[in-house]
Amino acid sequence: MADIVLDKVTKSYPDGTVAVHGIDLEIADGEFIILVGPSGCGKSTTLNMIAGLEDITSGELRIGGQRVNDKAPKDRDIAMVFQSYALYPNMSVRENMAFPLKLAKLDKETINKKVEDAARVLELTDYLDRKPANLSGGQRQRVAMGRAIVRSPKAFLMDEPLSNLDAKLRVQMRTQVSRLQKQLGTTTVYVTHDQTEAMTLGDRVVVMRGGYIQQVGDPQTLYDNPVNLFVAGFIGSPSMNFLPAAVEESVLRTPLGDLPLGDRMRRELSTADAPRQLIVGIRPEHFEDAALIDDVQRAKGFEFTAPVDLVESMGSDKYVYFTVEGEHAASADLEDLAADAGGADLPPQDSLVTRLSAESRVRDGADAKVWMNLDKIHLFDPRDGKNITLHEGRAAGVSAS
């Protein structure tokens, strides 16, 4: 077990493309950290550099306090689970799991014991003598995990280990991976492009984009206080709603209506270099059917009326989609999000997703009066995507004084 430190680690290729731009990251001993981002964001490259499968162009990588830049993967004492599982097809499950131990030249008895222990933990005991070809996807995945855990390495690296499983199995394995990591307490770096996996598994999540780290934090912090448009849009499902807004005197003009600005926001927005055009971001659960809101809350929020496009009842609550007239929010960050395959979570530009209580009586086709929580609104600068409502790392909404 060990901590992993990335100190200005950069990866560039001979043709000049830079996959990872000098990232700094400290992963504590025993921590479960998730690297998440759309494809091409450099997360797998980063993982491969930690593994030693790719050279580090510049910067320093330390595992357990020791510089390992020039060490071969085999000398780093870390195990990796691949997206494709990469089981050795010519070996049985037992041989697959024993392979790293055999290479470590342990004696037969120890090997057998360790393999059987790992098999028991992963419920693979009955399959030890099968070949990978005769296993189901979930079993293969577990063998891959088994091969990683048998030799109790300093750290686990996992490269989208669940993305080849079907949806139900993925949820099951997610819990199992999480439990296993807690049980073993081994430092784990986990790469995924699935924000749900990132949110549910990690102690901390690292959101990456274009070779840069966007934000590092525990899942709740990322969700509540995203530093920029990209993180805000990437984390959360359904994702945050984005609307264009213009700053006018003491109000914020949006397609939903004029939102009041608190003193602090007004002060900040009145400085010379403050943007006149902004992007408003608000999560679906910060809306509510106005009929269900008490007066105390009503005062803290803003109400508007809009035509209901579609109602999806989930039982516990309702997803209500509204059509929003007018311009769309535009920013490079939003385009990036839309381009990413995971952007399927993003609502169409002209619709607003809200999550209302199940008791709400809104119906398709009718107009509905909706309340939204002004404390939970984020304002983003469309030029660089920065969240300007953050104060000391915490989002404060627009009406804070």
Binding site: P73, I78, F82, Y85, L87, Y88, L103, A133
Partner: protein, 277 residues
């Protein structure tokens, strides 16, 4: 639907039969000739009326043939081994690594494969005469390797490309050195490819007539295909057809054995289950 299937089956069956007959008749004919006695050689019967093993006895009694057989086996085996070992290493590098001059290497090996061998016979003859390689085993093994290598590299790199690279990465992560990863993980998976290549290369070396006839002059290194052309009958005026046929049958036997032996190793889909397909 069923009728369509049946008629399609019949059509394909007929076509297959034609191909098989077309390929096998000359072989059976040679076999039949080898069992005929000299007077009945030209009687036009497909099945010999007068069976004899004299032709076989005759060729094994002549030093010429036995010696040629030993030469053939030795030369083909050595050339195959060297070509497959070198080819495996080259193909692995080509399919897995990006190195300067890779395109050139592939291009040159393709060029060699396409080069008309007959145009090289004269220069090779002169070179080998001057270097003392003429009429030696090495004198044949070297050109065989040269021409077998492109074949080996191309076939093997196709096989290597099918092996998921993740397996090698996994082996390295599991604590293997580059060499161990190749020996313990990649090589067993590439085995079917290696055996297939070995068969192809062996057949190429075994069947070659052009170099064998041009670069040898005595029994010291003459291989069977070349030796066959030097067969004579019992007397100068006797037709050696029977003996040649018998020798032809004898030299196809090692090829058949070779293929049968390695066929078991060529198990299709050996890599299935390594990664989610």
């Amino acid at each position: 639907m069923a009728t369509v299937n049946t008629s399609a089956k019949v059509k394909w069956g007929l076509l297959d039969a034609v191909v098989v007959v077309f390929a096998l008749i000359p072989v059976l004919w040679i076999a039949s000739l080898s069992f005929k006695t000299t007077p009945t050689l030209t009687d036009g019967n497909f099945i010999p009326r007068d069976w004899t093993l004299d032709n076989y006895k005759l060729i094994f009694q002549t030093d010429q043939f036995v010696r040629a057989l030993i030469n053939s086996i030795g030369i083909a085996l050595i050339a195959t081994t060297v070509a497959v070992v070198l080819g495996t290493m080259a193909a692995y590098a080509i399919s897995r690594l990006d190195f300067p001059g890779k395109g050139l290497l592939v291009g040159v090996s393709l060029l060699i494969a396409m080069f008309p061998q007959v145009s090289l016979v004269t220069p090779l003859f002169n070179i080998e005469r001057n270097t003392g390689l003429f009429d030696t085993w090495a004198g044949l093994i070297l050109p065989y390797i040269t021409f077998a290598l492109p074949l080996a590299i191309y076939t093997l790199s196709a096989f290597f490309k099918q092996i998921p690279w993740d397996l090698e990465k996994a082996a390295k992560m599991d604590g293997a050195t580059q060499g161990e990863a190749f020996r313990k993980v990649i090589a067993p998976l590439a085995a079917p490819g290696v055996f297939t290549t070995a068969i192809l290369v062996f057949i190429f070396c075994w069947n070659d007539f052009l170099f064998a006839i041009s670069l040898t002059s005595t029994e010291r290194s003459r291989t069977v295909p070349a030796a066959l052309s030097f067969f004579t009958g019992a007397s100068q005026f006797e037709d050696p057809t029977g003996a040649i046929s018998a020798a032809a049958v004898v030299i196809t036997i090692p090829i058949i054995l070779f293929v049968l032996f390695f066929q078991r190793r060529i198990v299709a889909g050996l890599t299935s289950g390594a990664v989610k397909g």
